[in-house]
Each structure stands twice: as C-alpha cells, then as structure tokens.
C-alpha cells in the first residue's frame, strides 16, 4: 500500500534534518575530495586510461559514486539512530505501511546524497570536466537513482541492526569493498579474472559506468545494461527493506 502523503512527509523530514546539519554535509565530502584531488592529481600523468581522457576526468564519476555510496548508505543506516532515540516507534505505530515508510525514507536519503554529490559535481566542473546542461540534468537524475539503491540497502541493513555495534563492520566489510571493488578507481578492461568477477558482481560498478557514460561519453559497458542492472538492484533493495521492516519481534 502506497501512501503519498506519508511518503512526502518522511521525505521532507530527511531534507529538513539534512539542511539543519551543516557539519554532516561537509563531513561527508572530506574523504571523496581527498581521493579526487590527491589521486587525481597524483596519478594524472602516470596513468593512461584510454579514450583520450585524463585520469582526473576518468576518476570524477567514480568519486561521485563514492559520495553516493557513503551518503546513501549512512542515510539509510541512520534509522538505527531513530530506533535508539525512540522516534522509529512513532513511525512504526502510525497508520503508514512499511512500504510507504521505506519509500519515503529512501527518497529522502537519495535526495540528500544527491545534493552532496552535486557539490562535488560542481567542483569537478570547476577543475575541467565539461558538461552541457542536458548532461547535468542527466547526471542529477542518475545520481539520485544510484543513491536511491544505496539508501535502500542501508535501510535493509539497519532493519536488523539494533545498535551501532555492527556499524564499523558494515563500513569495513561492505562499504569499503563496494567502493574499491568497483570501476570507480580503475578501468574495467584488462583486470585479472578475480577482480573482474568481483566488479561485475558489485552493483556500484554499474552506477559508476552509467555516470561515466553520461559525463564523458564513454564507458566499458552498454549504458542501457548499466541502467537496467541499477534499476533491478534498486527494486530488490527496496523490497528487501520493506520486507525486513514488516517483520516484528
């Protein structure tokens, strides 16, 4: 059952909280900026990624993917805070279906992560990646869609997480591997077989390739395929999160 008003309410809540929390916005950008500036500048002259692209250009969509991954996942996992501070009960006891709750929350996380990524996008524009207005619009849409999947994934994880004890585990064993084992930092062709397998099983790979196609006009796979896989991933995560939240003690 989909309840539009409830979805909008929870969506807006995420945005309000995001806007009120400047430190969270800036904090989320630190590491990706470091990656972009340091790796980008450091390897720019060493690496040839082909296609007439500089490594810096190549890296930009990957680092944007990183912002979306971390921003989205953290936003989803933040439900654990709501649980600890009791606010989750207020939502769970309201006449709002679990599906609506998860959708509203996921849209909220997707929007806020997209905003963070947009800040990075503007920065990359400033340092030489060139995009026309159509590309910018497509990028914003793609970024939102990618963050949607990661937020839903964070929510699904948080549904079974009662406290922050497992948090470091999630960062180290899910988020970091997802980032490093995607095509965010290196081109997908000519990888050793094990890494090829790992990247192809990683949903993040497809999001990054989709953005690379939009921003740079080239990618190592058919963008239609990337979009299809991203969409399937989003649907799966959304369903999983809604299902997990409908299980009660």
């Amino acid at each position: 059952m989909i309840q539009t008003e409830a979805i909008l309410t929870l969506w807006q809540r995420e945005i309000l909280r995001f806007v009120r929390n400047k430190s969270r916005i800036i904090g989320g950008l630190g590491t990706p900026l470091l990656f972009l500036l340091v790796l980008g500048s450091g390897f720019d002259r060493l690496l040839n990624v082909g296609g007439g692209l500089s490594y810096f250009q190549f890296l930009a969509p990957g680092v944007i993917g990183m912002v979306l991954l971390f921003g989205g996942m953290f936003s989803g996992i933040n439900v654990v805070y709501d649980r600890q501070f009791g606010f989750l009960k207020e939502i769970l006891v309201a006449p709002v279906s679990r599906a609506s709750m998860v959708i509203g929350r996921t849209l909220g996380g997707a929007t806020t992560a997209m905003f963070q990524a947009a800040i990075l996008l503007v920065l990359t524009l400033l340092v030489g990646v060139q995009l026309d207005p159509v590309q910018i619009v497509l990028m914003v849409l793609a970024m939102t869609w990618i963050a949607f999947g990661f937020t839903a994934m964070g929510l699904a994880i948080a549904a079974k997480l009662t406290d922050f004890q497992g948090f470091q585990l999630i960062v180290n064993f899910i988020m970091m591997p997802m980032f490093f084992l995607s095509g965010a930092l290196y081109p997908l062709d000519q990888l050793p077989p094990w890494l090829q397998t790992a990247t192809s099983l990683n949903p993040m790979t497809y999001g990054v390739e989709l953005m690379r196609f939009i921003a740079l006009g080239q990618s190592s796979m058919d963008p239609g395929l990337a979009l299809a896989i991203q969409t399937a991933f989003n649907a799966l995560m959304l369903w999983l999160a809604a299902w997990l939240f409908s299980q009660k003690e």
């Binding site: 409830a6 809540r13 009960k89 006449p95 279906s97």
Partner: protein, 325 residues
Amino acid sequence: MHAIETHQLTKAFGALTAVHPLDIHVKKGEVFGLLGPNGAGKTTTISMLVTLLSPSGGTAKVNGFDVQTQPDLVRQSIGIVFQDESIDDELTAWENLDMHGRLYGMPWELRKKRIEEVLKLVGLQPRQDDVLKTYSGGMIRRLEIARGLMHHPNVLFLDEPTLGLDPQTRRHIWTYIRKLNRDEGVTVILTTHYMEEADFLCDRIAIMDQGKIVALDTPKKLKERDATLHVASGKIDELYQALSAMNPVRQNGKILIETSQPQRSLKRVLSIAEKRKLALTEIDVKKPTLEDIFVELTGHSIRDEKAGTSDRFKAYNRAMTGRRK
C-alpha cells in the same frame, strides 16, 4: 463490543515470560489502569496491543480489530504516548506535531487547528518553533502527550504519561485526560507508578506483577478490600466480648476489625453496641491506600521513579554503546 479484548495473550522473550496468559476486557469509554512495579510487563502488554510486538500466544482485539491480522486498522484508531522518548529532536515542536498529523492523514486546516489546541493545552506555544534539542525532559513529555491526543484516537495508550512532570503540569494533564474521556468518550489505557494518578483517573485498575494480573477492580473496591474498623469504648472489655464473632483484635486501647465490607461491618458494630447499651467513644473505618493494597498483593512497594534530563543522556549512551537499558 469492547475497546480492548485479550484472550490468553502471552509474550515470552526466550526463557523469560514477560506476560503470562492475559485476559482483559476494557469497556468503551473506560479509563483502565495498569499498575505494577518495574518489569511487571506493562509496557510489553501495551506494545502488543499497539502492534509493535508480536504476541507469543493468544489473541488481542483493539477497537474490534485483531492486532495480528489487522494491524493497519488498529493503528488507525489508536494513539500512544510511549514510556521512552520518541520525538525527533532535530525538528521543532511544531514540525514534530505537523509530521504526526500528516502521518495520520489529517488535512492541513484540521492539523493547524489541533496543533494550536494541543500546544496550548501543554503550555508549549511560546516554544513551538524551538528545536527539541533545547527542551527539558518534562517539556518533551508534555509535547509527546500533546502529540498522542492530537489525532483524536478512539483508544489512547499512555505508558507512564506523567513520569518526570512537575505536580502542577501533572494535575493539568490529569484534568485534560479526564475531560477528553468524559467529553469525547476516548478510552484510555494508562500505566503508572503513581498511586494518586491511578486513583484519580482510573475507572478500573489492574495490578500487575511478574507478568500476571493479581487484582482487577475499581479503585474504590480495591481500597475496600480489608478495610479496618477502629472502635473504642469506655467499656472496652465488654465490647470486645460482644464483637467476638467478628474476629476483633485489641491494640492500643482500641478494637480493630478487618473487613472486606466496611459498610456492613460498621452497621453490625453499631447495632451490637446499641443492643448491649455500650457507648462508643470512637468508630472509624480506615481504608488502606492503593499503596497498601499494592504492597499486600505484590510483596513489594512501588517505586516512585523520577525521570529527568538524564534520560536523554541515557538514550544517547545506549545509542553509542549499544547497551539496552
């Protein structure tokens, strides 16, 4: 139809049975109290009734809807003030209430009207646009009560609603709960550690201990259980003889008679005294307080806990260390 009907409702957490098979019937329009010490199972019972916890056994109906098979309909028709804090402290009071109204499908005009009403009720209007981080524990409690009332539920669950409130606010809230119940027929289920609260508000009280209901009656009837008659006379020895059928006890120059029907016993004593021409210098019915009854039934006294600002700190600590309270 009852507002609440449970049949053998049970909840076990592993080896611990928090709620033993429970049969209660709460009438529509009633104020029903659950009184019990820490860990008695009050919150667990309420959590099952408001669809947050699945029963391990038995069934429960709220407003005629089954909590397990029709949770959405149950949720639609109830309001709850949780024992623990349940607000978004990064939003303002107004935003919290508005969000609540929207989740309950209230249209804008109605929302606006009700938010103003309930904020006024709990005296938070001047602070309505402050982020809740800046509120004291008592102010948050008041806001939560306001929120629970906002959407005019048929059944209102109040889990220790006035914990940590100052006496003046507490009175104020009591009066309002009563008014709401009288004027709008809202059924209220209330848990409390405060005897006066149960006494003042409740039509019936269930005393709960270790997951079981050990007594269930009106406050008046509960207090009449084992009332004591205090009788004195100039001719105390003769009087003692005359009343021997009533199991009298002599104490401090008085005669004490325990009775579960104080009015009848009183009449009986008076008529015996009259027949024997014994002038009474004192006759008095001493009713036990709810506290006395409670101690007698459960074997321990109820603790008047004060919640304070430290609760927020505890919640924070819990969040950071993952420790359950």
